[in-house]
Symmetry: C2
Subunit: 209 residues, 2 copies
Amino acid sequence: GHIIVAGHGESGSQAVSELLRRGSLPQEILVIEQNEKARAAAVALGVNVMDADATRNATLEAARLKTARALIVSTGRDDTSILVTLTAHGLAPDVPIRTVIRHVDNETLARTAGADTVINPASFAGLLLAGACHGPHTADYLADLAATDGRVSLNERPVAPTEIGKSLADLESGLGLRIYRGELAIGFWEDGARTLKPGDMIVEIVPNS
Amino acid sequence: GHIIVAGHGESGSQAVSELLRRGSLPQEILVIEQNEKARAAAVALGVNVMDADATRNATLEAARLKTARALIVSTGRDDTSILVTLTAHGLAPDVPIRTVIRHVDNETLARTAGADTVINPASFAGLLLAGACHGPHTADYLADLAATDGRVSLNERPVAPTEIGKSLADLESGLGLRIYRGELAIGFWEDGARTLKPGDMIVEIVPNS
Ligand SMILES: [Ca+2]
Ligand SMILES: [Ca+2]
C-alpha cells in the first residue's frame, strides 16, 4: 500500500525525506497539499502530489485512503489536522493514522478523533532540551535512534522462527529492548523477555554497518 | 548552577516542566520571556522569571549566565534564537547551549553561533512519523525514552568505580548502549565496550521502578 501525507510543511516534508531514506519508493508516497510552494518541494522529491483539501471525504477517497498503508497528518494547524484525522478515521478505520499536534491540549482530541500515534514536536523538543541538561549526549543519541542514518537505528520486527525459545537478551541482530506480545509490552528486564514466543514483535537497537 | 531558559513558548515550557519532573528545583530555573502570557505560565510553575530581551548582553549578565549550568534557547524565531546563542556564547563560551531551531537551513548556523545541541522539532517529528510507518511502536518507545515518566528512561552517567573492568553488557543498572571515552563514542557491539575504563561516560536504558 501507499503512504498518504496530508501537509508538506516542515514536519511533513521531513517525514517524506525520511520515508525515502528508509527505502520507500517515491511512487508509493502521495502528498496532499494546497500551498503551491510546499507542493513544488514535494514534486521535486519525485513523489505523487495532489492539490486538494484533505479535510474532505472526496479528497481522501481520490487518494485511495482505504488501501493505504498509513496516513500522516501534518497540516501545520491543529484544527485542520484534527478534522483530517476525524474524516479519515470515519472513511477507513483500519488505516493507521499518525497525527502531528502543536499544542499539548489537543493531543487527547487527536487521539479521540482516531489518531493511532500523536506526535507533538514541541513536547518532544522540551524532553530533549531537558534531557540534554542532565546528560549532554542523550539528545544526540535519541536523534540517532530515530533516524536511519548515523550509527544506530531503532527497529521493530516480528520474531524470527529461529529465535523462538531464546531470550530477548540473546538476539544476534541487535540489542533487544521490548517485546510486544498481544496486549502486553514486556521490558528487557522482565521475566516474559526470557523466552521469545511465536507472534512476538521485537523492538531492538541495530548497529548501522 | 542554575538553568536559564530563554523563551517560554511551547518547546521552552515543555523543557521547564520536564526539568522539574527530573528533579530540578523551581528556584534553580530562570525563564527570560517578554510575552506576558508566556511569562505568567512560567510564574505559575514557581520558577524565577525575568521580563527582558535575551539577545542583549545586559540581560544575560543579569541572569548570571557565566555561572549557569546550561542555557536553553527557545524563543520561537530562528533569527532571535541564533542571536541569543551568539551573544551567550561570546559572554560565556563554557556554558552548554541547547538551541531550538525551526528550519533545517538554520541548524548549521546555530551550531556555528555556538550551540552545543541543536534541536529541530519538525525534523524530529518527521523522523518519528516515518519511523511509525515502519514500526508502529517505535515513536512511542522513543517518547518513553526521552521522558522521565513511562516505563524506561535514557540515562547518562559516569562509570562507577565498581564497574571498571567489567563489560558494558554486564551493567546491573540497565541496558548499556554507548560509552563516551574521551573523543570516542563506542557502541555496544564494539570491542571497546568489553572493558569499562575510568572516566567513561555511559548511556544506558534504565527501567523505571
Ligand atoms: Ca540512526
Ligand atoms: Ca520514560
